[in-house]
Symmetry: C2
Subunit: 82 residues, 2 copies
């Protein structure tokens, strides 16, 4: 039960930023996005990715690799349309 | 070493949304924020909070309780200044 909850939370935490990335690129409206928050979040998922590699946990590695891609795209949108 | 990395990532993941919450309330500019992304993220930290309670992990409980407060404030700013 805890395992399912943990996996659901990990999956949700990965896909939840897809609508934000989509919105940023589609609307080009990124003025309300905090660059520092998104850079810190990028560092966060980067740290989790390293953590996953160090402890050899594939769900953590895969979830955070996907999150890195999504957050990088949000940061790029912010830098391009600021 | 892995433990420090995990704790750093958990702490960073909690505080990283503070600048976004601050920016949303200070600038009232939330048009670029995705409500669905933030609601899904709220559900994510809520699930991690429940997971922490179920496995009795205090760092997860505390980090996600703080994250819930911050993300709720972002969602409230988005609903108020949309």
């Amino acid at each position: 039960m805890e395992l399912y909850l943990g996996y659901t939370a990990a999956l949700m935490g990965t896909v939840c930023w897809l609508p934000q990335a989509w919105k940023a690129w589609a609307s080009r409206d990124t003025s309300g996005l905090s660059l520092s928050a998104n850079l810190m979040f990028l560092l966060t998922v980067g740290l989790w990715f390293c953590y996953g590699i160090m402890v050899g946990d594939w769900p953590i590695i895969i979830a955070n690799f996907c999150a890195i891609l999504i957050v990088v795209s949000i940061v790029l949108a912010k830098l391009r349309y600021k």
